[in-house]
Amino acid sequence: MGLTEDLEAAVHAGDAARSEKLLAGLSEGERKGAAGRMLELLREYYRFLEVAPGVHSRRIPQSNAATVAVLGTASLAVLKKTVMASTYPVHGVLAERKPEWLAEWAEATFERGGQPFFRDIRRLIRDGVLAKPRSEGYIRAFIGSLMEPLENLVAREPDLLEYEIWRLFEVEGDAQASLAGHDKYVGDWAKGLAGLAEKGLAPRARLLDASLDALERDFAPFRAAWFSAFHESLTPSKEERAARAGRYLALLGSRVSTTVSFAMKAVAKIEKAGLLDTAAALPLLGAGMAARQKGVVMEALQVLDSIRKRKPALAEATSGIAALALVHESPEVQKRAVDLMEACVGGAAPLVAQSFQQLLAPTQRARLGLERPGLKMEQRPVSEAALEEKPERVNAVRDLDELVELYASVMENAGPPVEMERVLDGVSRMCGERDSRFAPLTAPLAARAEKFLATPSMWAVAGWFDGRWDPRFSLAALALAWIRKEPVKLSRACHGVCSFLTGRVAEVAVRALNGQAKPLAALPCGAEGWIPPLEFVERLHKHPEPERLDLIQGLLRLSMADRVEALEQARSLPGPEGRIVRFALGSEDCRRPPRFFDEALWLAAGQARDPEGGAGVHRLRWHVELHRISGSTYRIAQVAMDSWPPPEFDAAKAAALTAIPGTHDAAMLRWCSTVWPAHREPWFAAGALALAQNIDWQSAMWGNRVYVETLAAYRGVYGPMAYELLALGLAAKETGEAMAATDALVAGLGDGRVKGARLGEVCAKLAGEGTMTVSRWVKRFAAVARLYPGYCGELFTAMERMLAGGAPVALRELSGFLELLCELRGATGEQIGEKARAHLGSMKLSGKAMKFAKTLLG
């Protein structure tokens, strides 16, 4: 038998030792002849392992033998491309072959991860067959290879102490292998290296320096944090720290927050020991002042204070550096900085702080005698006219050209809602026209609609519960009904307001199928959905007998303006529709519906007649359950709405009764928000429910943001549900929801529609349910107060009412809450009321919270 056959037999027998023996002493030329077949065998056995994992253990000897055979025969180019591993040691076959490309092969294996052959390569290095690789890959493989106590490994392979151990501090590693990652999931490099220092195997001083070197290397935060933790695990002495003071100070400018924190602590310890070179330290401490973490800046100020006391001559320079801390948003930090500045330069402190004036907390500004930046609060009284604000007039689509382009746009972008309404109206008006241009012009739209309806992702990606309410689906169906006369297949089940809207699309589709052109009565005149009553009546005069859902929609969109005049115009409207419209406009002669009446239609007319009277009261009902999971207790809130409609199959009735949309799809929600602009309370109630159920962002409900955005754009009077939605938005974890709620707060405070007292009461009530994170309110109130000083009074009232209302604030959040209250008090000069005083007095406080409470009570 030849070499190939012998090797093949050894591989099939799973005899790696025999493979190795057969290859001994062969020339490269002889090996080359068997390379191709060996590679085939290797792939075969690897494939076998992949497809039949159950027989793993029985086939490993064969794959080992094949690996040995390939390593002993294949060229470098092949080996570089071939993925393999072996539990049988392969260093023997490589040492015996000793190809000139051995170093290159080793580097290539490291680039691929390098784990499988690391021990073999190490053996080749120790045997002098291979020079030590200098690549990062080698060190990464070394990191990943630690599976035993480091001390044992070093005892067995002492050469590691000459190079590899120190290279650990120079190589950042990657997602697969890094010291931080390895220690988190697998082994303990930190403990092992500290052990080497303890036993005197590795010089302690060098380890301390090497870890600082690593921290200067711009490593990613997670990986850098390992080195600072390791440095501290060596517990450097005062002298050791003092000798490295310059290095700690330089690290204050690091981009990694944990490194800055670590360095600041080290500098503080050196200063405490009186060993800091103050003149050299001062300019570098400025970097510590720019830290984001409050603790780091406070520590830096502490060090500066200590320097001031030790070296009074440096007071002026110290003050200038302390001023840099004024960039920090925490009033506590600012107070500490101003304290220090006053101690350094006395009456000159305001001058030093001048350039930071706009960043200062009210209390510090007052203390320094600096004027508030001129931001005048704009208060506009709420009037009836506010309800009628219509920024832009919506016009009907002019012609088929515009309709086709607009239709394509709303179908691609699922909105905006007012454009969808224009499309419905356009199709409804033009469905009777079919000239020679119709077919070529609409062909692209029909093709696109067909594609939409055929795309499975419309259902699969959006999710089965949302996908069906994506408005593009019903618009695509309408396009085919209009252009190709294909009958529509829309769901008749009621899922809230979105069923009503798709029902409206179906109405237009039926009209389009029959070619019965007529404009929509319900085409809104503004982006929010309003229709002026006079215009509505005029439309009905021109085109009587609107479709049922169209009429309901029109009624729900009626604004409050010019109703008397509109009623006069409506006197001559014929038939039952005329009677309904007159009723909606406040006519006294048709207060009662006829004997056989359409309940939903009359309900809508009733809502249009008295939007706030007939809507019912909405209230969220909370139920908090405690769950113990793995030894921890979790509070899980269940929220429901008292006024949730009963199962109802008439979507029109649902639309008139409540604003529950029945979907989380953002585009559909935006459209739903235009259904009933006259009375937003039900809509805000639906939003409050949606936000309350996901206040900590347990699931990615991106559509919920639409409710808060509607609130921000709302210019009407705030009812109970508007306040509840506002409070929940401000307490939301998701940044977008919170940002929109802040917009609403700023707008509401700006024109006086949001009252601090009412907001505070609602927050107190919600906090009482026990699932709110009060610090989120504090954070968002503080942000508004910083930017709009004129709103501090209302914000103070809101927080004071929260306190008076007994809002249970978690202890960890209390000092932040009271601190902001103190700041707002400082800004406004107001005092907390008796009820809040009593509640604060009854609380068991300590630390900073006690200090702030004393200020408030004093």
Partner: protein
């Protein structure tokens, strides 16, 4: 993908000495002209920090498509341009959505030698680590050279690193200049205020647009548009500026109408610019802002003259250049936009003008790498455009699309225009019509 090999004759390095650090950026040999720069930096720590910021942009994928998590692209090395008393380092993120540039103005250094040229510079992790070690207040000397220098502590041997640069990366690099040319300054924040704003940025991904509105001397982030507000998509990308702002004296915000924004930190004679695409998941490469210039015939005539006038200027204003060459301002601007696509000019927002540089990549294929343009050429060549009066009908895959101009603005019935309008450049049908003459004959 384009296989691109970085070949350096030595490694970049930083050497610490008593007299201060010596930063040596190893440059790649590219063409006949070799960039060479040697200068003492006046504020070395800040320069090092901002170069690290650039390296971070170059190494960060701000958006990873769900199906591509495992396929991370190798980062490309920054590009350096010496010329007309400016040293500029530019880089582009692998996701194609962020462009960063560090400008060192004449006051930032004292040059002993500055020869014009553009090339890549070696910016591997070792170099970044060394830069991070430059001390505050330390003097430093910066050298950019393809030659090995005496103090180089690198391996000494040639360095070669092959990267696979996606076509869209090259396209985006060129495209971002066109975006910048359309931006206008919107507001400026003081350094301290900028620090606070950047600290308050969301730490998690924020879906949708955020408006940044100036309020007094500060700014507020909101979800709704307000007067003076700048719209930013993927605002969390700005967090990369937070550590760099510590050294800045001001932050100037630039924005255009297309949703792209640029944020420029300034400190005395140094600038750090970060340009962001309209959304984190939208690379500059797909924005199509250069398609009209690429398709345009008139600019081709002026192109040669403008190209011949490039002499490593740091400021090329279309009107001045037009006057110099006897061209109209629009014609000069059009030609400069085309040269931007070829990587021959960049745009400097602070100056409000182009600057000459020659990106060290092969841009000759870029025109062919524009699928819309390619398709449009094919349609135009295969008589895919049919005129009916002033309306053109362009052959699509299944149907014909109507293309027309309304009030001077192109309209098309295809899904691309329906979805994006002209915000992401014209569709292939509009381009085909442009190539076919652009106007109907007025007869049916």
């Amino acid at each position: 993908m384009i296989e691109y090999a970085y070949r350096y004759e030595h490694c970049s390095s930083v050497q610490s000495a008593e007299a201060g650090s010596r930063i040596h950026l190893a440059a790649m040999r590219y063409g006949e002209r070799q960039a060479f720069f040697s200068a003492a930096l006046r504020e070395a720590r800040c320069a090092a920090d901002w170069m690290l910021g650039l390296a971070q942009v170059v190494n960060t994928r701000f958006y990873v498509p769900p199906a591509m998590v495992a396929r991370r692209l190798a980062a490309a090395d920054p590009v350096i341009t010496c010329g007309a008393e400016r040293l500029r380092l530019e880089g582009f993120s692998p996701c194609c959505g962020a462009y960063a540039r560090v400008d060192l103005l004449p006051g930032a250094y004292e040059a002993t030698r500055a020869e014009a040229g553009t090339t890549n510079v070696d910016f591997r992790p070792e170099m970044r680590a060394a830069l991070a070690g430059v001390r505050h207040g330390e003097a430093a000397r910066l050298t950019v050279s393809a030659e090995e220098v005496e103090f180089s502590t690198g391996s000494g041997s040639a360095v070669e690193r092959k990267v696979r640069l996606p076509v869209r990366w090259l396209k985006g690099f060129a495209e971002v200049q066109a975006h910048q040319a359309r931006m206008k300054p919107r507001f400026t924040l003081s350094g301290a205020m900028a620090q606070r704003f950047l600290r308050e940025l969301p730490r998690t991904t924020t879906r949708g647009d955020v408006w940044v509105t100036p309020v007094g001397a500060a700014v507020r982030m909101s979800r709704s548009a307000m007067p003076g507000a700048v719209r930013v998509g993927g605002i969390e990308r700005l967090r990369i500026l937070a550590p760099l702002a510590r050294q800045a004296q001001s932050l100037t915000v630039y924005a255009g109408e297309d949703g792209a924004t640029a944020w420029q930190l300034t400190r005395a004679e140094m600038r750090f610019l970060l340009a962001l695409s309209p959304q984190a998941n939208r690379g500059f490469s797909g924005e199509g802002q250069v398609l009209f210039p690429l398709a345009a015939e008139p600019a081709r005539k002026a192109l040669g003259a403008v190209r011949a006038a490039l002499r490593w200027q740091s400021r090329i204003a279309p009107e001045a250049l037009g006057a110099e060459l006897g061209l109209g301002e629009d014609e000069a601007a059009w030609a400069l936009a085309q040269l931007g696509v070829s990587g021959l000019v960049g745009y400097d927002l602070a100056e409000g003008a182009y600057f000459h540089r020659e990106l060290p990549f092969d841009f000759s294929l870029i025109e062919e790498m524009q699928p819309r343009l390619k398709e449009a050429r094919r349609l135009a060549a295969e008589s895919g455009v049919r005129w009916e009066g002033e309306e053109a009908w362009v052959r699509g895959r299944e149907v014909e699309h109507r293309v027309r101009k309304v009030d001077g603005v192109w309209r098309c019935t295809c899904p691309w225009i329906a979805r994006h309008g002209l915000g992401r450049g014209p569709c292939k049908h509009i381009l085909a019509v442009e190539m076919d003459g652009g106007e109907g004959d007025g007869s049916d």
